[in-house]
Symmetry: C2
Protein backbone atom coordinates (compact mmCIF):
# COMPACT_ATOMS: atom_id res chain seq x y z
CA UNK A 1 0.00 0.00 0.00
CA UNK A 2 1.07 3.58 -0.51
CA UNK A 3 3.47 4.79 2.14
CA UNK A 4 2.68 7.88 4.17
CA UNK A 5 5.56 9.61 2.47
CA UNK A 6 3.69 9.30 -0.80
CA UNK A 7 0.61 10.98 0.61
CA UNK A 8 1.38 14.34 -0.92
CA UNK A 9 1.58 13.03 -4.42
CA UNK A 10 5.27 12.28 -4.85
CA UNK A 11 6.00 10.34 -7.99
CA UNK A 12 7.37 7.26 -6.20
CA UNK A 13 5.78 4.06 -7.44
CA UNK A 14 5.44 0.61 -6.04
CA UNK A 15 5.13 -2.63 -7.98
CA UNK A 16 1.67 -3.53 -9.32
CA UNK A 17 -0.65 -4.66 -6.52
CA UNK A 18 -2.17 -7.63 -8.38
CA UNK A 19 -1.24 -11.04 -9.76
CA UNK A 20 -3.43 -10.94 -12.88
CA UNK A 21 -5.13 -7.80 -14.21
CA UNK A 22 -8.45 -9.66 -14.24
CA UNK A 23 -8.30 -10.77 -10.61
CA UNK A 24 -9.55 -8.49 -7.87
CA UNK A 25 -9.30 -9.54 -4.25
CA UNK A 26 -10.67 -7.52 -1.36
CA UNK A 27 -9.21 -4.04 -1.37
CA UNK A 28 -6.64 -3.96 1.42
CA UNK A 29 -6.10 -0.52 2.88
CA UNK A 30 -4.84 0.64 6.25
CA UNK A 31 -7.66 1.42 8.74
CA UNK A 32 -7.47 5.17 8.20
CA UNK A 33 -7.80 4.85 4.44
CA UNK A 34 -10.58 2.26 4.74
CA UNK A 35 -12.71 4.54 6.89
CA UNK A 36 -11.78 7.64 4.89
CA UNK A 37 -12.97 5.94 1.71
CA UNK A 38 -16.37 5.36 3.34
CA UNK A 39 -16.54 8.88 4.75
CA UNK A 40 -15.58 10.61 1.48
CA UNK A 41 -17.99 8.40 -0.47
CA UNK A 42 -20.89 9.14 1.85
CA UNK A 43 -20.35 12.84 2.48
CA UNK A 44 -17.87 14.10 -0.08
CA UNK A 45 -14.44 15.50 0.76
CA UNK A 46 -15.74 18.66 2.40
CA UNK A 47 -18.56 16.86 4.20
CA UNK A 48 -16.15 14.51 5.96
CA UNK A 49 -14.37 16.20 8.85
CA UNK A 50 -11.05 15.12 10.36
CA UNK A 51 -12.94 14.58 13.64
CA UNK A 52 -15.35 12.28 11.81
CA UNK A 53 -12.46 10.34 10.24
CA UNK A 54 -10.69 9.94 13.58
CA UNK A 55 -13.97 8.87 15.22
CA UNK A 56 -14.57 6.18 12.59
CA UNK A 57 -11.04 4.84 12.97
CA UNK A 58 -11.29 5.01 16.76
CA UNK A 59 -8.25 7.24 17.24
CA UNK A 60 -7.77 10.83 18.41
CA UNK A 61 -7.41 13.68 15.93
CA UNK A 62 -3.69 14.14 16.82
CA UNK A 63 -3.13 10.42 16.26
CA UNK A 64 -4.63 10.76 12.81
CA UNK A 65 -2.40 13.74 12.07
CA UNK A 66 0.58 11.62 13.09
CA UNK A 67 -0.11 9.39 10.08
CA UNK A 68 -1.39 11.93 7.55
CA UNK A 69 -0.55 15.58 7.64
CA UNK A 70 -4.02 16.65 6.50
CA UNK A 71 -7.40 15.40 5.35
CA UNK A 72 -6.28 16.27 1.86
CA UNK A 73 -3.24 14.00 2.21
CA UNK A 74 -5.59 11.12 3.03
CA UNK A 75 -7.68 11.77 -0.10
CA UNK A 76 -4.56 12.17 -2.25
CA UNK A 77 -3.21 8.84 -1.00
CA UNK A 78 -6.48 7.13 -1.90
CA UNK A 79 -6.66 8.79 -5.32
CA UNK A 80 -3.03 8.05 -6.18
CA UNK A 81 -3.39 4.39 -5.26
CA UNK A 82 -6.62 4.20 -7.29
CA UNK A 83 -5.24 5.71 -10.47
CA UNK A 84 -1.94 3.85 -10.28
CA UNK A 85 -3.69 0.52 -9.83
CA UNK A 86 -6.01 1.34 -12.71
CA UNK A 87 -3.19 2.29 -15.08
CA UNK A 88 -1.13 -0.76 -14.04
CA UNK A 89 -4.05 -3.06 -14.78
CA UNK A 90 -4.84 -1.45 -18.12
CA UNK A 91 -1.16 -1.62 -19.07
CA UNK A 92 -1.01 -5.33 -18.20
CA UNK A 93 -4.28 -5.94 -20.07
CA UNK A 94 -2.93 -4.26 -23.20
CA UNK A 95 0.31 -6.29 -23.06
CA UNK A 96 -1.82 -9.42 -22.70
CA UNK A 97 -3.37 -8.64 -26.09
CA UNK A 98 0.07 -9.11 -27.68
CA UNK A 99 0.11 -7.79 -31.26
CA UNK A 100 -3.64 -8.07 -31.88
CA UNK A 101 -4.92 -4.46 -32.02
CA UNK A 102 -8.51 -5.49 -31.36
CA UNK A 103 -7.60 -7.67 -28.38
CA UNK A 104 -5.36 -4.93 -26.95
CA UNK A 105 -8.17 -2.39 -27.12
CA UNK A 106 -10.86 -4.80 -25.87
CA UNK A 107 -8.62 -5.87 -22.98
CA UNK A 108 -8.03 -2.24 -22.01
CA UNK A 109 -11.76 -1.53 -21.84
CA UNK A 110 -12.25 -4.79 -19.96
CA UNK A 111 -9.64 -3.83 -17.34
CA UNK A 112 -11.06 -0.32 -17.06
CA UNK A 113 -14.62 -1.49 -16.43
CA UNK A 114 -13.53 -4.30 -14.10
CA UNK A 115 -11.80 -1.64 -12.02
CA UNK A 116 -14.88 0.64 -12.10
CA UNK A 117 -17.00 -2.26 -10.78
CA UNK A 118 -14.73 -4.16 -8.38
CA UNK A 119 -13.41 -0.86 -7.05
CA UNK A 120 -16.54 1.25 -7.63
CA UNK A 121 -16.39 3.20 -4.39
CA UNK A 122 -12.72 4.04 -4.75
CA UNK A 123 -13.00 4.85 -8.46
CA UNK A 124 -15.95 7.18 -7.84
CA UNK A 125 -13.66 9.31 -5.65
CA UNK A 126 -12.43 10.75 -8.94
CA UNK A 127 -15.24 13.33 -8.63
CA UNK A 128 -13.60 14.68 -5.44
CA UNK A 129 -10.33 15.48 -7.19
CA UNK A 130 -11.49 19.04 -7.91
CA UNK A 131 -11.34 19.72 -4.18
CA UNK A 132 -7.62 19.12 -3.81
CA UNK A 133 -4.98 21.75 -4.39
CA UNK A 134 -3.30 21.98 -7.81
CA UNK A 135 0.07 20.86 -6.38
CA UNK A 136 -1.39 17.73 -4.87
CA UNK A 137 -3.44 17.07 -7.95
CA UNK A 138 -0.43 17.00 -10.25
CA UNK A 139 0.72 13.39 -9.79
CA UNK A 140 -2.86 12.16 -10.01
CA UNK A 141 -3.56 14.17 -13.14
CA UNK A 142 -0.35 12.95 -14.77
CA UNK A 143 -1.19 9.30 -14.16
CA UNK A 144 -4.78 9.85 -15.29
CA UNK A 145 -3.36 11.42 -18.45
CA UNK A 146 -1.31 8.26 -19.06
CA UNK A 147 -4.55 6.30 -19.26
CA UNK A 148 -5.88 8.68 -21.89
CA UNK A 149 -2.61 8.40 -23.82
CA UNK A 150 -2.80 4.60 -23.76
CA UNK A 151 -6.36 4.65 -25.07
CA UNK A 152 -5.49 7.18 -27.77
CA UNK A 153 -2.63 4.96 -28.90
CA UNK A 154 -4.85 1.90 -29.04
CA UNK A 155 -7.56 3.60 -31.09
CA UNK A 156 -5.00 5.23 -33.38
CA UNK A 157 -3.34 1.84 -33.86
CA UNK A 158 -6.67 0.31 -34.84
CA UNK A 159 -7.44 3.11 -37.27
CA UNK A 160 -3.96 2.84 -38.83
CA UNK A 161 -4.48 -0.92 -39.26
CA UNK A 162 -7.91 -0.21 -40.77
CA UNK A 163 -9.73 -2.43 -38.28
CA UNK A 164 -11.25 0.61 -36.52
CA UNK A 165 -13.00 3.51 -38.22
CA UNK A 166 -12.91 6.73 -36.23
CA UNK A 167 -12.95 10.31 -37.50
CA UNK A 168 -12.23 12.19 -34.31
CA UNK A 169 -9.98 10.00 -32.20
CA UNK A 170 -9.55 12.40 -29.28
CA UNK A 171 -13.24 13.10 -28.83
CA UNK A 172 -14.07 9.42 -29.23
CA UNK A 173 -11.58 8.42 -26.53
CA UNK A 174 -12.95 11.08 -24.22
CA UNK A 175 -16.51 9.81 -24.75
CA UNK A 176 -15.35 6.24 -24.20
CA UNK A 177 -13.56 7.07 -20.97
CA UNK A 178 -16.53 9.11 -19.75
CA UNK A 179 -18.83 6.19 -20.45
CA UNK A 180 -16.61 3.66 -18.65
CA UNK A 181 -15.94 5.94 -15.68
CA UNK A 182 -19.65 6.57 -15.17
CA UNK A 183 -20.04 2.90 -14.21
CA UNK A 184 -18.40 3.60 -10.84
CA UNK A 185 -21.24 5.98 -10.01
CA UNK A 186 -24.03 3.39 -10.11
CA UNK A 187 -22.38 -0.02 -9.79
CA UNK A 188 -22.90 -2.03 -6.59
CA UNK A 189 -21.17 -5.37 -6.03
CA UNK A 190 -24.35 -6.68 -4.36
CA UNK A 191 -26.48 -5.68 -7.39
CA UNK A 192 -27.78 -7.97 -10.15
CA UNK A 193 -24.76 -7.74 -12.50
CA UNK A 194 -21.32 -9.21 -11.92
CA UNK A 195 -18.26 -7.14 -12.86
CA UNK A 196 -17.52 -9.58 -15.67
CA UNK A 197 -21.00 -9.11 -17.14
CA UNK A 198 -20.74 -5.33 -17.09
CA UNK A 199 -17.22 -5.42 -18.54
CA UNK A 200 -18.31 -7.73 -21.35
CA UNK A 201 -21.22 -5.46 -22.32
CA UNK A 202 -19.13 -2.30 -22.24
CA UNK A 203 -16.45 -3.96 -24.34
CA UNK A 204 -19.04 -4.73 -27.03
CA UNK A 205 -20.26 -1.12 -26.90
CA UNK A 206 -16.70 0.21 -27.00
CA UNK A 207 -15.92 -1.84 -30.11
CA UNK A 208 -18.99 -0.34 -31.77
CA UNK A 209 -17.87 3.15 -30.80
CA UNK A 210 -14.54 2.69 -32.56
CA UNK A 211 -16.32 1.34 -35.64
CA UNK A 212 -15.00 -2.19 -35.40
CA UNK A 213 -16.93 -4.38 -37.82
CA UNK A 214 -16.26 -8.06 -37.13
CA UNK A 215 -16.04 -10.23 -40.23
CA UNK A 216 -19.13 -12.22 -39.32
CA UNK A 217 -22.03 -9.86 -38.54
CA UNK A 218 -23.29 -10.39 -35.00
CA UNK A 219 -20.01 -11.98 -33.94
CA UNK A 220 -18.93 -9.24 -31.56
CA UNK A 221 -18.34 -11.59 -28.69
CA UNK A 222 -21.89 -11.13 -27.42
CA UNK B 1 -37.87 30.40 -12.68
CA UNK B 2 -38.81 27.94 -9.96
CA UNK B 3 -40.84 29.53 -7.20
CA UNK B 4 -39.62 29.37 -3.62
CA UNK B 5 -42.59 27.16 -2.82
CA UNK B 6 -41.09 24.54 -5.11
CA UNK B 7 -37.81 24.54 -3.26
CA UNK B 8 -38.52 21.35 -1.38
CA UNK B 9 -39.17 19.32 -4.48
CA UNK B 10 -42.94 19.60 -4.89
CA UNK B 11 -44.15 18.19 -8.17
CA UNK B 12 -45.53 21.48 -9.49
CA UNK B 13 -44.32 22.28 -12.97
CA UNK B 14 -44.03 25.40 -15.02
CA UNK B 15 -44.18 25.69 -18.79
CA UNK B 16 -40.96 24.90 -20.73
CA UNK B 17 -38.42 27.67 -20.29
CA UNK B 18 -37.31 27.81 -23.92
CA UNK B 19 -38.61 28.77 -27.36
CA UNK B 20 -36.80 26.05 -29.34
CA UNK B 21 -35.09 23.04 -27.77
CA UNK B 22 -31.91 23.90 -29.69
CA UNK B 23 -31.71 27.50 -28.48
CA UNK B 24 -29.99 28.30 -25.20
CA UNK B 25 -29.87 31.85 -23.92
CA UNK B 26 -28.06 32.93 -20.80
CA UNK B 27 -29.30 30.97 -17.81
CA UNK B 28 -31.47 33.35 -15.82
CA UNK B 29 -31.64 32.55 -12.14
CA UNK B 30 -32.41 34.67 -9.10
CA UNK B 31 -29.28 36.06 -7.39
CA UNK B 32 -29.30 33.44 -4.65
CA UNK B 33 -29.43 30.57 -7.13
CA UNK B 34 -26.81 32.17 -9.37
CA UNK B 35 -24.30 32.42 -6.55
CA UNK B 36 -25.27 29.06 -5.09
CA UNK B 37 -24.57 27.42 -8.44
CA UNK B 38 -21.05 28.86 -8.37
CA UNK B 39 -20.49 27.92 -4.73
CA UNK B 40 -21.73 24.33 -5.09
CA UNK B 41 -19.70 23.90 -8.29
CA UNK B 42 -16.52 25.17 -6.70
CA UNK B 43 -16.75 23.54 -3.30
CA UNK B 44 -19.43 20.88 -3.45
CA UNK B 45 -22.65 20.94 -1.42
CA UNK B 46 -20.96 20.34 1.92
CA UNK B 47 -18.06 22.68 1.17
CA UNK B 48 -20.39 25.63 0.57
CA UNK B 49 -21.71 27.06 3.82
CA UNK B 50 -24.88 29.13 4.22
CA UNK B 51 -22.66 31.96 5.45
CA UNK B 52 -20.62 31.69 2.24
CA UNK B 53 -23.79 31.74 0.11
CA UNK B 54 -25.17 34.79 1.92
CA UNK B 55 -21.80 36.54 1.59
CA UNK B 56 -21.66 35.96 -2.15
CA UNK B 57 -25.21 37.27 -2.60
CA UNK B 58 -24.52 40.21 -0.31
CA UNK B 59 -27.31 39.48 2.14
CA UNK B 60 -27.42 38.35 5.77
CA UNK B 61 -27.91 34.70 6.70
CA UNK B 62 -31.45 35.38 8.05
CA UNK B 63 -32.32 37.15 4.78
CA UNK B 64 -31.21 34.07 2.87
CA UNK B 65 -33.32 31.85 5.13
CA UNK B 66 -36.29 34.10 4.37
CA UNK B 67 -36.12 32.95 0.76
CA UNK B 68 -35.00 29.34 1.18
CA UNK B 69 -35.59 27.33 4.30
CA UNK B 70 -32.22 25.56 4.08
CA UNK B 71 -29.08 25.16 2.01
CA UNK B 72 -30.54 21.88 0.81
CA UNK B 73 -33.66 23.69 -0.45
CA UNK B 74 -31.40 25.89 -2.59
CA UNK B 75 -29.67 22.86 -4.12
CA UNK B 76 -32.99 21.08 -4.66
CA UNK B 77 -34.40 24.12 -6.46
CA UNK B 78 -31.36 24.19 -8.76
CA UNK B 79 -31.50 20.44 -9.40
CA UNK B 80 -35.24 20.40 -10.07
CA UNK B 81 -35.00 23.27 -12.55
CA UNK B 82 -32.06 21.54 -14.27
CA UNK B 83 -33.68 18.16 -14.70
CA UNK B 84 -37.07 19.62 -15.70
CA UNK B 85 -35.48 21.81 -18.34
CA UNK B 86 -33.46 18.85 -19.62
CA UNK B 87 -36.49 16.56 -19.89
CA UNK B 88 -38.60 19.30 -21.50
CA UNK B 89 -35.93 19.87 -24.12
CA UNK B 90 -35.43 16.18 -24.85
CA UNK B 91 -39.21 15.74 -25.11
CA UNK B 92 -39.48 18.62 -27.59
CA UNK B 93 -36.51 17.27 -29.55
CA UNK B 94 -38.10 13.84 -29.84
CA UNK B 95 -41.41 15.33 -31.01
CA UNK B 96 -39.45 17.32 -33.56
CA UNK B 97 -38.27 14.03 -35.09
CA UNK B 98 -41.92 13.23 -35.94
CA UNK B 99 -42.30 9.57 -36.96
CA UNK B 100 -38.67 9.00 -37.98
CA UNK B 101 -37.20 6.70 -35.30
CA UNK B 102 -33.61 7.61 -36.18
CA UNK B 103 -34.31 11.36 -36.13
CA UNK B 104 -36.18 11.05 -32.82
CA UNK B 105 -33.26 9.25 -31.21
CA UNK B 106 -30.60 11.51 -32.75
CA UNK B 107 -32.54 14.62 -31.67
CA UNK B 108 -32.79 13.30 -28.12
CA UNK B 109 -29.03 12.80 -27.89
CA UNK B 110 -28.52 16.20 -29.51
CA UNK B 111 -30.73 17.92 -26.90
CA UNK B 112 -29.07 16.00 -24.08
CA UNK B 113 -25.55 16.97 -25.09
CA UNK B 114 -26.53 20.58 -25.88
CA UNK B 115 -27.83 20.80 -22.32
CA UNK B 116 -24.63 19.21 -20.90
CA UNK B 117 -22.57 21.85 -22.73
CA UNK B 118 -24.65 25.05 -22.60
CA UNK B 119 -25.59 24.25 -19.01
CA UNK B 120 -22.43 22.37 -18.02
CA UNK B 121 -22.08 23.85 -14.56
CA UNK B 122 -25.71 23.30 -13.65
CA UNK B 123 -25.82 19.81 -15.18
CA UNK B 124 -22.68 18.78 -13.29
CA UNK B 125 -24.55 19.44 -10.02
CA UNK B 126 -26.08 16.01 -10.60
CA UNK B 127 -23.09 14.60 -8.68
CA UNK B 128 -24.26 16.46 -5.56
CA UNK B 129 -27.66 14.80 -5.52
CA UNK B 130 -26.38 12.07 -3.20
CA UNK B 131 -26.04 14.68 -0.48
CA UNK B 132 -29.72 15.57 -0.31
CA UNK B 133 -32.25 13.71 1.82
CA UNK B 134 -34.33 10.93 0.23
CA UNK B 135 -37.56 12.95 0.56
CA UNK B 136 -36.13 15.92 -1.28
CA UNK B 137 -34.49 13.68 -3.85
CA UNK B 138 -37.77 12.04 -4.87
CA UNK B 139 -39.06 14.61 -7.40
CA UNK B 140 -35.62 14.91 -8.95
CA UNK B 141 -35.17 11.16 -9.20
CA UNK B 142 -38.63 10.75 -10.74
CA UNK B 143 -37.93 13.32 -13.45
CA UNK B 144 -34.48 11.86 -14.07
CA UNK B 145 -36.16 8.48 -14.46
CA UNK B 146 -38.46 9.96 -17.12
CA UNK B 147 -35.38 10.75 -19.21
CA UNK B 148 -34.24 7.13 -18.97
CA UNK B 149 -37.73 5.94 -19.91
CA UNK B 150 -37.77 8.22 -22.96
CA UNK B 151 -34.38 6.90 -24.11
CA UNK B 152 -35.41 3.28 -23.51
CA UNK B 153 -38.52 3.85 -25.62
CA UNK B 154 -36.52 5.39 -28.44
CA UNK B 155 -33.98 2.58 -28.56
CA UNK B 156 -36.67 -0.08 -28.25
CA UNK B 157 -38.59 1.62 -31.09
CA UNK B 158 -35.49 1.53 -33.27
CA UNK B 159 -34.85 -2.13 -32.50
CA UNK B 160 -38.50 -3.02 -33.21
CA UNK B 161 -38.27 -1.20 -36.56
CA UNK B 162 -35.00 -3.05 -37.26
CA UNK B 163 -33.03 0.15 -37.83
CA UNK B 164 -31.13 -0.30 -34.54
CA UNK B 165 -29.44 -3.48 -33.39
CA UNK B 166 -29.08 -3.74 -29.62
CA UNK B 167 -28.98 -6.85 -27.46
CA UNK B 168 -29.21 -5.35 -24.02
CA UNK B 169 -31.32 -2.21 -24.32
CA UNK B 170 -31.26 -1.22 -20.64
CA UNK B 171 -27.50 -1.49 -20.26
CA UNK B 172 -26.95 0.28 -23.57
CA UNK B 173 -29.15 3.21 -22.52
CA UNK B 174 -27.36 3.43 -19.19
CA UNK B 175 -23.98 3.51 -20.95
CA UNK B 176 -25.26 6.13 -23.39
CA UNK B 177 -26.62 8.37 -20.66
CA UNK B 178 -23.40 7.98 -18.65
CA UNK B 179 -21.38 8.98 -21.70
CA UNK B 180 -23.50 12.04 -22.43
CA UNK B 181 -23.70 13.15 -18.80
CA UNK B 182 -19.92 12.96 -18.43
CA UNK B 183 -19.64 15.87 -20.89
CA UNK B 184 -20.82 18.28 -18.19
CA UNK B 185 -17.77 17.40 -16.13
CA UNK B 186 -15.17 18.66 -18.63
CA UNK B 187 -16.97 21.01 -20.99
CA UNK B 188 -16.23 24.73 -20.85
CA UNK B 189 -18.07 27.26 -23.02
CA UNK B 190 -14.80 29.18 -23.48
CA UNK B 191 -12.99 26.02 -24.69
CA UNK B 192 -12.17 25.04 -28.29
CA UNK B 193 -15.42 23.20 -29.09
CA UNK B 194 -18.87 24.72 -29.53
CA UNK B 195 -21.88 22.94 -28.01
CA UNK B 196 -23.08 22.14 -31.53
CA UNK B 197 -19.78 20.47 -32.42
CA UNK B 198 -19.80 18.32 -29.30
CA UNK B 199 -23.46 17.41 -29.76
CA UNK B 200 -22.86 16.42 -33.39
CA UNK B 201 -19.95 14.14 -32.45
CA UNK B 202 -21.82 12.48 -29.61
CA UNK B 203 -24.83 11.91 -31.85
CA UNK B 204 -22.62 10.04 -34.34
CA UNK B 205 -21.17 7.95 -31.48
CA UNK B 206 -24.65 7.31 -30.04
CA UNK B 207 -25.90 6.03 -33.40
CA UNK B 208 -22.97 3.64 -33.50
CA UNK B 209 -23.75 2.44 -29.99
CA UNK B 210 -27.29 1.48 -30.97
CA UNK B 211 -25.98 -0.33 -34.05
CA UNK B 212 -27.47 2.01 -36.60
CA UNK B 213 -25.99 1.18 -40.00
CA UNK B 214 -26.79 3.91 -42.50
CA UNK B 215 -27.51 2.66 -46.01
CA UNK B 216 -24.43 4.34 -47.45
CA UNK B 217 -21.33 3.38 -45.43
CA UNK B 218 -19.69 6.46 -43.96
CA UNK B 219 -22.88 8.50 -44.33
CA UNK B 220 -23.50 8.91 -40.61
CA UNK B 221 -23.85 12.66 -40.80
CA UNK B 222 -20.15 13.17 -40.11
Amino acid sequence: MAATSGALGSAERTAPQFVSWREFGLLELDPILTHALDAFSENGFHGATVRDLAGRVGVTVPALYYHYESKEAVLVTLLDAAVNDLVDRVTAAVADGRDDVVARFANAVDALVLDMTHRAKRSALDSEVRHISPDNRRAYAATRKRLETIMLGLVRGGVDSRVFDVDDIEETVRALLGMCRSVARWYRLDGPLTPDEVARRYTVIALRIVGYAPDTPGDEGR
